[in-house]
């Protein structure tokens, strides 16, 4: 007997009107043009880190394009500019500086500057090339955004696609008898039901609160940061291809150099220092202190509720991976888009893969606290004493012993990003069959070849400022 296509989802309620909720709503509406997708506002929460992310990784470029969120629109309306990577200052010893670029890593047998890093260090920029012969095929870029303008631009696009925005905000979620959510109560007193609820309300996880209690996986013994300092205003704009993460003895400072202003934050641990000391270490005049409880829900999709962003996974924004993780999980949801009959096995498959993504992002962040020559500082000492997940231990061991990076399912970071992270932290690869058997002449040739490639890329690129001006001109 032939089966049938499932009845598609008829109604979806997305709770949370920040970028996480809006991106989810846009993606769902595009996938199901006849489905009524409603976004229900929640109070803006500064602790919803995925919503305030001012920087994305290259992986988001293809995702946004696929969702019809065009880069040109973001340049024109969301303050977008392009970045080649991040500078890590003070992560290995007192005055150390290292570049963690995007794109392809140099051949693993040689220690060399990647093409992206060479471009960034020369303060130049070019778009990546599709032609493998071109040195510009080695580079890649991520987007910077102005969070407020980005939210407005996504809101306009969502409205254009027919996503409904509830005029009244969220008030409460009511559970049903089968372990799911029966409906939502809005501030106006109106009730909302839906086939599927997407909780993008930030760490408060307002919808999921209405579910039977779900175990949380605590990462506070793995990731040190549980306090974030956010200054009330952005700093002066700075036109550069690199953003910066600076380690201090009391925590780390992140700076995204947007073309409209510098978005700074300071990440600290309650175990080390005090709010006053953090503000001083951060170099901020004043700042709001926001608590962060690192960890994730055991199941990100439970009954008829899917938790995205900080509603599901909370971790310090080192390398600004929070929004990158949201994009990967939204893409997964679109791939496994359920029908009205939410099937438990499909939920399990989503949960297996979404959890693997989150855990690997956590490992990538945790790696940064295990440099072999860590700088002096109470924060660094505290962080280095935290637990190393088995998966990260295997990664570090294999890399240092045999120069290889074991594969992990659903890694949100490309392999090259791990290579760059290891290099920026001074973790040297162990001997490989190739590196050990390379003759000195072959090694020299490899280095020369790579240096020539990087030099050619720098030659063909424009100064960052000039490139950006031309880019913005064409985006208008």
């Amino acid at each position: 007997m032939p089966g049938s296509a499932r009845e598609p989802l008829g109604t979806i309620a997305v709770v949370g009107d920040g970028p996480t909720g809006l991106v989810a709503a846009i993606a769902l509406r595009r996938a199901l043009p006849r489905c009524a997708v409603t976004v229900i506002p929640t109070p803006a929460d500064p602790a919803a880190l995925a919503d305030w992310t001012a920087a994305l990784t290259p992986r988001s470029n293809a995702f946004l394009r696929q969702m019809g969120i065009e880069e040109g629109m973001l340049a024109a309306r969301a303050g977008a500019s392009l970045r080649l990577g991040t500078e890590l200052a003070g992560w290995t010893s007192g005055q150390s500086r290292a570049v963690h670029p995007f794109g392809a890593a140099p051949p693993p047998e040689i220690a060399a500057t990647s093409v992206s890093a060479a471009l960034a260090l020369a303060d130049r920029f070019a778009l990546p090339s599709d032609d493998p012969a071109s040195p510009l095929s080695d580079i890649d870029y991520g987007l910077r955004l102005n969070p407020q303008a980005y939210t407005r631009a996504l809101g306009a696009l969502a409205a254009h696609l027919g996503v409904t925005r509830s005029p009244s905000g969220f008030a409460a979620a009511t559970g049903d008898t089968s372990g799911g959510i029966a409906g939502l109560r809005l501030a106006s007193g109106e009730d909302v039901t839906a086939d599927l609820f997407v909780d993008c309300s930030g760490p408060a996880s307002l919808v999921a609160q209405g579910l039977p209690s779900e175990p949380h996986i605590d990462w506070s013994r793995i990731l040190p940061v549980d306090r974030l300092l956010i200054p009330p205003t952005t700093g002066a704009p700075k036109l550069t291809a690199l953003d910066r993460i600076t380690a201090t003895p009391l925590g780390w400072r992140g700076e995204v150099f947007g073309r409209d202003g510098t978005h700074a934050l300071f990440a600290a641990s309650i175990e080390v220092g005090s709010p006053e000391a953090w503000v001083e270490a951060a170099g901020f005049a004043e700042a709001a202190v926001i608590p962060l409880a690192p960890g994730r829900r055991d199941r990100l999709w439970q009954a008829n509720v899917i938790c995205l962003g900080d509603a599901g996974v909370r971790f310090e924004p080192l390398h600004w991976l929070n929004a990158a993780l949201v994009h990967a999980q939204v893409a997964l949801l679109i791939e496994l888009l359920p029908g009205r009959d939410l099937h438990p096995l499909e939920r399990n498959e989503f949960n297996r893969r979404a959890a693997a993504m989150a855990d690997r992002a956590r490992d990538f962040v945790a790696l940064h606290y295990h440099a072999p020559t860590r700088p002096e500082g109470a924060f660094q000492d505290y962080a280095a004493g935290l637990a190393l997940p088995d998966t990260l231990r295997l990664t570090i061991d294999e890399f240092t012993r045999r120069g290889r990076l074991p594969f992990f399912e659903e890694d949100v970071l490309p392999r090259d990003a791990w290579v760059f992270a290891m290099a920026s932290l001074g973790i040297a690869p162990g001997p490989t069959a190739r590196s050990v058997t390379l003759t000195p002449a072959a090694r020299t040739a490899l280095i020369r070849g790579h240096e020539a490639r990087a030099a050619a890329a720098v030659q063909s690129a424009l100064p960052y400022r000039d490139w950006l001006a031309a880019y913005l001109q064409s985006a208008r």
Binding site: A5, L336, R340, N348, D397
Partner: protein, 505 residues
Amino acid sequence: MGRRDPVSVVIVGGGTAGWSAAAALARLVPGGADIRLIESADIGIVGVGEATLPHVRQFIQQIGIDEAAFMRATHATFKLGIDFRNFGRIGDSYIHPFGTFGRDLAQVPFHHYWLQRRAAGEEADIGQFSLAVQAARAGRFQLPRETDLSLASSYGYAYQFDAGLFGPYLRDFACQHGVTRTEGRIVSVERDAESGDVASVTLEDGTRFTADLFIDCSGFRSLLLGDALEEPWEDWSHWLPCDRAVAMPTASPAGEIEPYTRATALGAGWAWRIPLQHRVGNGYVYASAFIDDDSAAEGLRGTAEGAALADPRILRFRAGRRRRSWVGNVVAIGLASGFLEPLESTSIYLSHMAILRLVDLFPFGGISPADRAEFNRLVDMEYDRIRDFLILHYHATTRDDSPFWDHVRTMQVPDSLAEKLELWRATGRVARYGEGLFFEPSWVAVYCGQNVVPDRWDARAALPDQPVLARALDRLKQEIAAQVQAMPGHRAFLERETRRLAHAG
């Protein structure tokens, strides 16, 4: 990272696994290993694997073997997939291709749209939407394009070759690249009293060889890992009951050479048919609990086409693997490590996969327990996943014509497979893993080919206007038919490329 003292390696056994290991280490760890291979002419080669997977191309390319020379030496033909006959039910036939089905639309995999049309009474055969399947059915072949997203790059290929010739070819190649070959039979294995490692092996003539690393490629005897180190065997015969094969070559028929391997289900197992340049390999893989040797040989004679070139020869094996493949300083590769019947031509892949892992983890500066743990983790994962995929071929059937099929149809399958099957039946989705051998198109081919049709599939397949969808599928079929039409026949392609021919002119 300076140059280091080479690691001394002794490889025990000179079949496909042994000489593949020798050749790969010589080429990929040049100067990093002193390699000696000990083989005995008295000990036969099992040589089950004659059909391969596309991975073998990467392997030979990586170690620097010229494809044409290799094909010439092993009398190889091209392979686009496997034709499974009588598996889901008697009379059925489907091809598991080295390629994809159709094109994704709006981020939804093609097979959901196919399921939608099928439910409307159209398009019973998903194979019509695979270029590899259609080219195989038509007996045609062309090298795929590798770099674009067109139909012409929607497939890959492998080889069907004479395994008895592959070993010697690799032997010459490995010896040219510095491997030392020693002829002799190993009569004893000495172990280090303290560590338990293998210290040396001694030949009949008294010669003794020590090494840092021993690679056990001794086949089912598992001379080092099984006999000397007594690593326990994990038995999978309750899921994969076939434990023997009877093999018999026949003369090549006139006409087209099928660019695919045949696997035909019989009463107590299945028969392979592998067309080479100069002959056809045939064999019946069977479960001795359900049929005796003579009847199996009779069954093979009944299905094999063409004049027999030799008497039927019986091989014995069992499905399963050693609990660990790397113990102490012994790495077992190939049959010494484990065995899965060649239903999906995985034997040579399993050897080559293990060899490349060993290259990745090559123990410069000494073996660490972490090397062993990582190697065993990776090898176990490959074995487990392939095992589940093979079990599917037996379990997904309505055949009830023999006790053998009654057994495999009703047996309890591993949980890891049961979950995948249930997800497919309920939603039309394939559990996705990025690592491992068989990806979504392979699972779709076997599920659909063996009539495991999902009850439900992606809701989005019903969204497009159905007449428009039907026309799009028609166009795709026409495109594929036109491409196949433009391909040369398999024999014509081989004859045009004389560099690949064993007996050119």
